[in-house]
Symmetry: none
Subunit: 445 residues, 2 copies
């Protein structure tokens, strides 16, 4: 099994200005391909130091993967250092240069002269195509001669160099679309196949307890991870083909799906907004959201899904009391007596959204995202959700705690709000009347 | 100035199961203390490999900082490897053992036998107290003799070893309460002070070209960084006090602020939404946003700022044509003749938002975020923005290119939309009539 070493290049990493998420992404992806990784290094923008780290990585690993240092500025040194280390001159690649020029033209931006530098590459290397950015990386297959020339240990062992830019979205696209397929073919190694079962409404430790008997399995392996206001169980199988791996994983996946029931909302790339979108599309229903404290976050997440115009026609952010009255027909009395942060207001907002948007489902969010604005019986993190449909109403109160930031409270609220729509569409008996009974009056209308 | 190398130990890091946020924390903290860092390494739970990485770090740096591998299990190898590398036996420290026992007692937990291992430390080392967890780390001041014994280069240069557990909350507490005060006193080093000047409307390479003469300065240093649809210039000064560092940086900061003018929108933690919020508050003006393709993202960003209820009362996401007619009074004729993605529609949306929200500024966004929906003269990434106020209208067309994802197009659009409000509030002559003339009809009403 080949081994790889990731070398992250950039002084900004050593100063802590940037968190190196690329290394984690590559680590996960390398493991999936069955490629070992024993070391990882980070070095600043300094030629002798970069060369020493690259040389060491080439000596102790089969694959050297660099991130960063491919940009147009004077402190972007990666390609130059690779050329110097391997005592190979760089040449100006007209094909790359044309791509760079076209990219600038398509963005209506004049191309600065410094970008010419990105068209240089060492003789003998190939282009690692970059589907997202101005400059590509390199793929360089090294055989005995050039390695022996610079005195690398074990030169008869072939080496591979891949370079990536530091911008995560470019690196991820290059990996998925170009580098991973190349490596799979190049090494013909076994494969790791994995899937994530995404959960909402259960914590990481509860999940680990429920499936404790699965966490010690050898193949497939099962591991829980905490996500962003949700949890995941990752099932990974090792085999010679994807089909074989999937067959190994299948019984475990089915056990988890059965055990978790509606708490498992989807897999892999699915999100609460994509699942809600799929359910709305299938049922041919329209949703209108009226948000207060989340300020448009629920709407933004719903419309992040391509094709969401099928089920989203209108959403509103009624931030002030007056706008709740004007736009949603919330009664002034409710606002005076119960306040904008109340079960009563959430219900009137949801019903108002239903009417305003000529929708099938009206969803409302009102609460206190903080850090200011909390009062004694309604501290920061107190949120009321409402969901209205024909002959249906359910409300829910969240108490998210003062320890969370404004941004965390808003995100978790958006998760709960989307999940409420999901449960309604799956089986409305799940959300009414219990465990929604905190708000007695408006549980079921 | 001393140099430090952080070595992160743990196979879970090389598998990507854990994101190494400790390294970033330590990088920032070391820079604050004026301690250089030229390299960073990560290694798995394997004794020969750990020893080789530790030896290398001791050779090329003055301070070796390890994270991870201090736990009670068989794959926690850090202390053992340090002892082996320095050919120094470990002894059982009764004082540490008492602390561990007390901690377990205080949590009403029986102490597993494996925790005895955490009481071992090399002869000659000191304890790095852990205020949060079961086991402390080490501080080991190494002089010439032990270094020479194992053949380290330059043994006459004193070295320092600090070990930390991998659990971030324990590491942070140990750093802040014990290690940082120790290092400050031990080295009596200066400090690094830095600030970021955030730019919008100019690319990283253009920024680097404009300030090329500053990028070679030694103190303060100036470096450009690409951000998320924006750029930053970071100015860093080294001195004996914050005041002295700020005085060194001041002329450079002033030069950049003058040279960039309105393209420099803020510093450090400021965002376009926070700057727009500050300007709206100061001018006591209210903004209403009508979004189509951004689906609530502009609204969500505006309301992410605590206190935004002062200037946001109502925003709307009019995703369908009908909702643009119903809510914003866009004319059916405009939608039929020019389409929803047009300068004319953006203008009517902005004017409609102004009226609907009883606002001082109406902002509109309509366009094609993709990946579907593009047509020949309006490909994916074509966006129209509109800004209406009393006796004022300006429109802008964006062509963001098909290479970007839906999410990138939406985010960049939200940057442009917020920036348009910012420029209007700073000096409305900047945004009218040029360079906004692509949309001839509606440049100035």
């Amino acid at each position: 099994m080949p081994s790889a070493e990731v070398v992250s290049i950039g002084t900004e990493l050593l100063l802590g200005q940037v968190l190196d998420t690329n290394s984690q992404f590559l680590a996960i992806e390398l493991a999936k391909l069955g490629i070992d990784s024993y070391f990882r290094s980070t070095v600043g923008d300094n030629k002798p130091r970069i060369r020493s780290v690259l040389r060491q990585a080439l000596e102790r690993s089969d694959i050297l993967i660099t991130t960063g240092g491919l940009g147009p500025t004077a402190d972007d040194l990666t390609t130059e250092c690779i050329g110097e280390l391997l005592e190979t001159p760089l040449f100006f690649d007209e094909v790359i240069f044309d791509q760079i020029k076209k990219l600038f033209a398509s963005r209506n931006f004049p191309m600065p002269d410094s970008n010419r530098k990105q068209a240089l590459r060492p003789l003998g290397s190939d282009i690692l195509h970059n589907p997202r950015g101005s400059a590509p990386g390199l793929i360089w297959k090294l055989r005995q001669e050039p390695l022996a020339k610079i005195g690398i240990k074990d030169p008869e062992r072939p080496r591979l160099i891949l370079t990536f830019p530091g911008v995560p979205r470019e690196l991820v696209a290059m990996w998925n679309e170009v580098a991973a397929p190349f490596l799979l073919k190049h090494f013909d190694a076994g494969i790791l196949w994995s899937t994530e079962l995404k959960h909402f409404g259960i914590g990481e430790s509860a999940l680990a307890e429920q499936y404790a008997h699965l966490l010690d399995l050898a193949n497939p392996t099962v591991a829980p991870y905490a996500g962003h206001a949700e949890c995941r169980l990752r099932v990974t199988a090792k085999a010679h083909s994807i089909e074989e791996a999937q067959a190994l994983a299948k019984p475990v996946i089915e056990e988890i799906k059965k055990g978790s029931a509606y708490r498992c909302y989807g897999i892999d790339g699915e999100t609460l907004e994509s699942v809600v979108g799929k359910l709305l599309s299938q049922a041919d229903l329209k949703l209108t959201v009226a948000e207060s404290c989340t300020g448009g976050l629920v709407s933004q997440r719903l419309t992040e899904i391509s094709g969401s115009s099928k089920y989203v026609a209108l959403n509103v952010v009624t931030y002030s009391n007056q706008s709740k009255i004007d736009v949603l027909r919330v009664s002034a009395e409710t606002l005076n007596v119960n306040g904008a942060v109340s079960a009563e207001c959430a219900e009137e907002m949801a019903r108002g959204a239903l009417l305003l948007g000529y929708a099938d489902i009206g969803l409302s969010v009102t609460g206190i995202a903080g850090p200011d604005g909390g009062i004694e019986d309604k501290p920061v993190g107190t949120i009321f959700l409402g969901l209205a449909a024909k002959d249906f109403y359910a409300g829910k109160i969240l108490r998210l705690g003062k320890a969370s930031t404004r941004s965390e409270i808003r995100f978790r609220t958006s998760q709960e709000a989307l999940n409420m729509v999901r449960l309604f569409l799956l089986d409305r008996t799940i959300i009414a009347p219990k465990p929604w009974s905190t708000n007695q009056k408006s549980v079921v209308s």
